[in-house]
Symmetry: C2
Subunit: 567 residues, 2 copies
């Protein structure tokens, strides 16, 4: 990973640059955020030509350490108005790493309406006209596989991104070619779309840029880390079997499962959408379904799944907890087949299921369609597909939809929809939603595993403040967050394996310090973008409306929230 | 003006409070802003129950000094997310003053869907059920006049405000009972609407709270001030004859007349919408039309007008420059009859013509309807009237409409539409749009009268910085801004006439200092609301796209803009 590729779509130029010294020890989110701070006017319009989109594998990208090849995308978010990074599993990070690309910077914008895709192999990097512009991600991906064979990896957007919808994400392909590993949050798909870039094709065939500093020692330490993962009850047992959907049982029990636009924290049909029922359905149906599937090659956790219909045919893969929470209970839909179908539709449009679930929830709450009506929800997504006025509104996410429909119950923080943890039930996540530079994002500092009363406001600020840099470590190394319960207590081992991979010696303490620095880079960007501590808060309905059953409101004091970002 | 009336709509309580010492020398905008800072959490949701709406006459309210009875409304704006004051002529300020009311604070909110109006006379203040809820302002006003006679003054909102549309203003009645004197900007009509308050009826009959400290001396000085107004070419001649529409000739000549969504600064049909043509039409048509009409009783400038159709029947009154610019040239419409009709429709819906003109301009620019098509523009307003999804989008103003339609050319600053001065043609106003606590608002610091090259970026920050407190002085005394060209150089006389009215001795210098203080109050509110100097800028298309003819872009450097609000 010795070069940075810069693609200027205005000029149509592609340049390869050596990695500057200051970027050498940065990867993934820390790198995308630092490049954005260095190169982008934080006050720029997110969907204007001054914004940039940066892709980067993590520091361990391409290595065979389990769960270490997540890809980060970074840009100024049209939802939050601040800096955003979104990451995903899939195959693109490893492909970039093999091609020796530490970061890919997309800047400028193509002429209006002119769509291109970027082709990269070991010998050339070219912009090519995108005949697949306008197509859903599944068909577009299929066309590119037909053209370039199944060894390629793809990064691509759907019609939502092409149209600049703020709810649009960027997806990349898994090992079997499914274009469904989403860098979903922040509307970065729109940033890619308005630049006129439909896809990036990565063909790493014959590219061997990866040189382990000490492959043998890496292998040894890898064994030890894999054992830690296997021995951990979450990563060794629950995740492989039930996937992320296992969380539904947990959040439902503690009154934190978003239900009917966050009007309740428990759902009467929770046992029809939880991990056990999902496992039951997949295993009894057989066919294409799989309960234990790796989102990245080599992952030993394999929390992902393939969801098949009753006829055994694949509907969507994966079906994750966040989608189940936002497009299931949050819409009053207690049917996994229906949720899977909505998930597929969103994927094909290239839209984030969290943002769209929250959006449809707001629309239901305002009476546009009834709660629980999955057909009507699919009809709303058809409006989005058809780009009607209503579809455009919905495609811009929960805040715009709520504003237009006159909602006073819009579950967003800094303009971005809340993931599937009601912050009145898991107040530590509420602190993260309110204070993270990422806006409402459960991956930016999740406190759910802490052994505390999650409705007690007191311990939450400290928990979130501790969780946020841990997320940054994972996001910067390219690690899945799910390794952190097992490996988070062993930062020195993570540092060591990075050294064995790269030859760069760091300590666990230095990793943590670098993560704090990277958070400060993001805070700095946001401050310059005009976000201020005054925006570190949650919507009034979350502080005013007690959840049924628990009676909990979000009551972490504002002054505690503000302290999180004080330096 | 010895009391403050507080109406709590949640509790249904009405209380009368003595005026606190700190409010004694504040009036109009300075008073509404100070009360908001003192009582409202700046981080609150503008359309939530924590926001308040404050009405206040100026310090000279109710006096017979010409042009001195404008009424201010203040609240946190759903457009800018910051503090907002909007003011208007009409009769409400004098009525409040006669009733001895220095400020009227509306807080809390009625139960959902329950609309009330407030009735005030010299003996009682009551909330009454508003059977006229849902009606346009013209019919609603008529009903209230039928019930209470023609001596009352009304403050009211239209369906737009009731529905919480961000483009909604608050209107009040003129001396002839027209409900068309709008406190238009900032979406304060929505703040009133979501509280469930349709109208305020003021019956000052028999109320004589006004006691001149020295009426005789006031009369003497008034004569002198009136002479200054009469001798000034603007207030003595141009305004009475041509009204504000005179400005169209000026801005068209200097390439600053918004044309086709701010894509040009000059309009080929400018001579069909300017002051001379308006004068010509009104005078040749006769009938109900008037070229010289007072928006407040006793005003000697009489810049207002009554616009009649070719059959002599009144269409709308007044037809002002801002409406002509935004709903005329900005839409490519060169026909005053068409503009007057659109104006009437907006008035009846209770919507700000500046915001709606900019909104329709964005919609035209995005191809929703063609430029120049007044029928299609009326059809869009019919969508708003019918509360369709498209209508809701449009009703929320230019920014939401532009976001939904994917526009990159949204003429707003801090979320609020720009008035009829293209900031590339009058860069001092661009500085005001970018830096005023009020967002894009020409009344917050107009530099058009300065004798400079308005496209030279250098002198503009200083001009705006000087103009902003002058606006505050006028807005706080209840004075029309149009007196300032004549009286702005005589602050000591304004201070003196205030002393003769109130008995409170201040100097001109103290007036200026108080205005600076009031601006700081607003800046403080905005800072706490989360607005930061990073937002003190104009849209990228204004800095990127040169205006045809002049080739001018908005090029006042960002660092100069930021200096404006530094203390």
């Amino acid at each position: 990973m010795d070069k940075i590729i810069r693609v200027n779509l205005t000029a149509g130029t592609i340049t390869s640059e050596p990695v500057a010294e200051k970027y050498r020890q940065l990867g993934g989110r820390a790198l995308t955020s630092q490049i954005l701070l260095d190169e982008v006017d934080p006050g720029c319009e997110p969907l204007g030509k001054r914004n940039k989109l940066v892709f980067a594998p993590g520091l361990l990208g391409g290595s065979f350490l389990s769960s270490s090849s997540r890809i980060s995308a970074g840009g100024k978010s049209p939802l939050t108005g601040g800096i955003k990074e979104a990451n995903a599993g899939g195959t693109a990070a490893a492909a970039l790493s093999k091609l020796g690309i530490k970061a890919l910077i997309i800047e400028g914008e193509s002429e209006k309406g002119y769509n291109q895709y970027l082709y990269i192999d070991k010998e050339k990097i070219e912009l090519r006209p995108a005949e697949m512009a306008g197509l859903g991600v599944y068909r577009a991906a299929k066309l590119l596989y037909e053209r370039y064979g199944d060894k390629i990896s793809q990064i691509l957007i759907g019609p939502g991104g092409e149209r600049g919808y703020s709810a649009a994400g960027i997806t990349n392909t898994d090992a079997q070619g499914r274009p469904s590993r989403f860098m979903g949050r922040g509307g970065l798909g729109a940033v890619m779309g308005v630049k006129g870039l439909k896809a990036i094709v990565l063909d790493p065939t014959g590219a061997e840029a990866i040189n382990y500093h000490d492959r043998k020692a890496f292998q040894e330490l890898n064994k030890e880390l894999v054992k830690l993962l296997k021995d951990n009850p979450a990563t060794g047992e629950a995740y492989p079997k039930y996937g992320t959907a296992a969380m539904a049982t947990r959040t439902n029990a503690i009154n934190a499962l978003p239900t009917r636009n966050f009007s309740a924290g428990s759902f009467e049909c929770a046992n029809r959408i939880d991990g056990e029922y999902l496992y039951h359905l997949i295993t009894t149906r057989g066919g294409a379904g799989e309960t234990t599937h790796a989102c990245m090659p080599g992952c030993v956790i394999k929390c992902s799944n393939i969801y098949a219909a009753s006829d055994g045919k694949e509907v969507v893969a994966p079906l994750e907890y966040e989608t189940i929470g936002l497009m299931g209970s949050n819409l009053g839909i207690g049917n996994l087949d229906a949720i899977a179908r909505l998930n597929y539709i969103c994927n094909d449009l290239g839209l984030d299921t969290i943002e769209m679930g929250a959006t449809i929830g707001v629309a239901m709450d305002q009476g546009l369609i009834p709660f629980g009506d999955a057909e009507a929800a699919a009809d709303l997504l058809a409006e989005v597909a058809e780009d009607t006025i209503l579809g455009k509104v919905l495609g811009h996410g929960a805040l715009i939809t709520g504003r237009v429909l006159g909602s006073r119950r819009i579950p967003v923080a800094k303009g971005q929809a809340m993931p599937a943890y009601d912050p009145r039930g898991v107040k530590g996540l509420g602190v993260t939603y309110a204070t993270s530079p990422m806006g409402a994002d459960h991956t930016a500092g999740n406190t759910i595993r802490a052994e505390v009363d999650h409705t007690d406001p007191k311990p939450q600020p400290a928990l979130s403040k501790k969780a946020q840099p841990m997320s940054m470590i994972a996001d910067s190394m390219g690690l899945c967050l799910f390794v952190m319960p097992a490996l988070g207590a062993h930062l020195d081992k993570l540092a060591r394996i990075y050294e064995l991979y790269s030859g760069i010696k760091v300590s666990g303490e230095e990793l943590l310090k670098a993560a704090e620095n990277a958070l400060n880079v993001e805070r700095d960007f946001n401050r310059r973008a005009g976000l201020s501590p005054a925006q570190d808060r949650l919507p009034e309905f979350m502080t005013d409306e007690p959840l049924p059953v628990s009676g909990s409101v979000f009551d972490v004091p504002l002054e505690e929230l503000r302290k999180i970002n004080e330096e």
